[in-house]
Symmetry: C2
Subunit: 239 residues, 2 copies
DNA sequence: GAGTGGTCTAGACCACCAA
DNA sequence: TGGTGGTCTAGACCACTCT
């Protein structure tokens, strides 16, 4: 782990433990240079991470302030599936379970070929799974993954955590994801599995996840119960 | 404008004009150092901006590649209202109009006080406006703004662009925004103005926008027709 | 005017990828 | 093994805020 990441980690913990209280000023960059034995560029890089996380905010001439995290700590968690939803939930001491509904291998149709940059002869896994928190269903995931990138996927991985298999066992490294978020009407499928009413809306998160080498590894549509899940975004202006 | 921003701007134009074609490699950082007469740290900073925008992707040892922008160029535009929706639309040669439905000044209730960090005696503007593209309604915005930060707001500003008034005339500078995106059922109000059906869902974007000095300047809920508007997010992994 | 963060440099070392 | 990007330094200058 890089030095600036280490420093960011230490500072993040100090902020979370309120060793640096909300609304107070962080020590200035010169002092941090002394404490961590790093150059100022490195300190700046560490602070930049925390700024992108929305934990601090720096202004030229005025210092660096710890932000209130009140808005951030809502019940609505960011829907970044590929970081591993199960990890998020464990941290919150919620009981997350997954139920495999469809687990097949098939040849991709045109849409899937386009999203995953495949041709018609490269098979994909088709997975539909229902995820529950404390026995209550909240999201129905329709997932496609190229079989040659994710070999030997089993129903057991699906019932627990797909991403711990990808990251841990297969050693895949992720570059990021494109997401598109929309509202939609619920269909018969949603109503059955999510146990929602006919006129309940659905929050759909469509995403393509990419590996570091540029290959797409997942295309999925997550259909969330509108009363159980939101999506939060922090937008930090560059200037 | 900083040197690294200038460089990023030039490179961005080269990518958009396909002077650097998609999937090809960018010149390496040492060559860019020569071309722009900058240090490598500065070049790296410029490339970092483009990476956060999802235009390029760098890998140690392998070079920096121009990404396909196919997924990005969808009809669904990012719902970052505070950058000025009217500006986005002009660029796309669409005819955006705004209709003022409510324009009042009042004392904030507890929720608004909490979101905008106000007390009960500090008045706020309450604005409801309907926005249309080519005469078709697509979003109904419920907006609150502190009157002392945004003085002399008029119905004319609301009918055109609030943010050009804030940025241009008042010279306000923005730090960023927190957003929460959810699906919801449409209420009578939505149905009337957005001309949607009783069982049509709504995509709601709730946001608090902050100024550079840390003061919140807007709390709003944007209720979007589910068939007219989505929200796209690019998530770039830090490592 | 004193103190703060933002930028920039020239050079160095290292980790990684590809041939 | 050679070329690439990632990190780090020590110091410098500048823009801004606060009082």
């Amino acid at each position: 782990m890089a030095k600036y990441e280490e420093i960011a980690k230490v500072l993040r913990e100090r902020i979370k433990s309120e060793y640096y209280p909300p609304d107070s000023l962080l020590p200035n960059q010169v002092d941090l240079v002394e404490e961590f034995g790093a150059s100022r560029m490195t300190i700046k890089k560490a602070l930049n991470i925390l700024a992108l996380d929305g934990l601090i905010y720096s202004r030229r001439g005025a210092g660096t302030r710890i932000l209130n995290r009140s808005f951030w700590d809502k019940d609505t968690s960011p829907a970044d599936e590929y970081r591993g939803l199960s990890k998020q939930m464990n941290e919150q001491h919620r009981n997350l379970t997954s139920e495999s509904i469809v687990f097949e291998i098939e040849f991709p149709d045109e849409k899937i070929q386009d999203k995953l940059l495949l041709n018609a002869h490269q098979p994909v896994y088709k997975i539909i799974r229902l995820r529950k928190i404390d026995e209550e269903p909240f999201v129905l995931e329709h997932t496609y993954m190229p079989a040659h990138i994710v070999p030997n996927l089993t129903e057991e991985h699906i019932a627990t955590s797909i991403y711990s298999y990808l990251k841990g066992d297969l050693g895949l490294k992720f570059a990021g994801a494109y997401r598109n978020i929309q509202a939609d009407k619920s269909d018969k499928y949603d109503q059955d599995y999510l146990e929602c009413k006919v006129d309940d809306p659905i929050l759909e998160v469509e995403q393509v996840v990419y590996l570091k080498d540029g290959r797409p590894v997942e295309y999925s549509r997550s259909r969330n119960r509108y009363d159980k899940r939101g999506y939060t975004v922090l937008d930090v202006q560059q200037n």
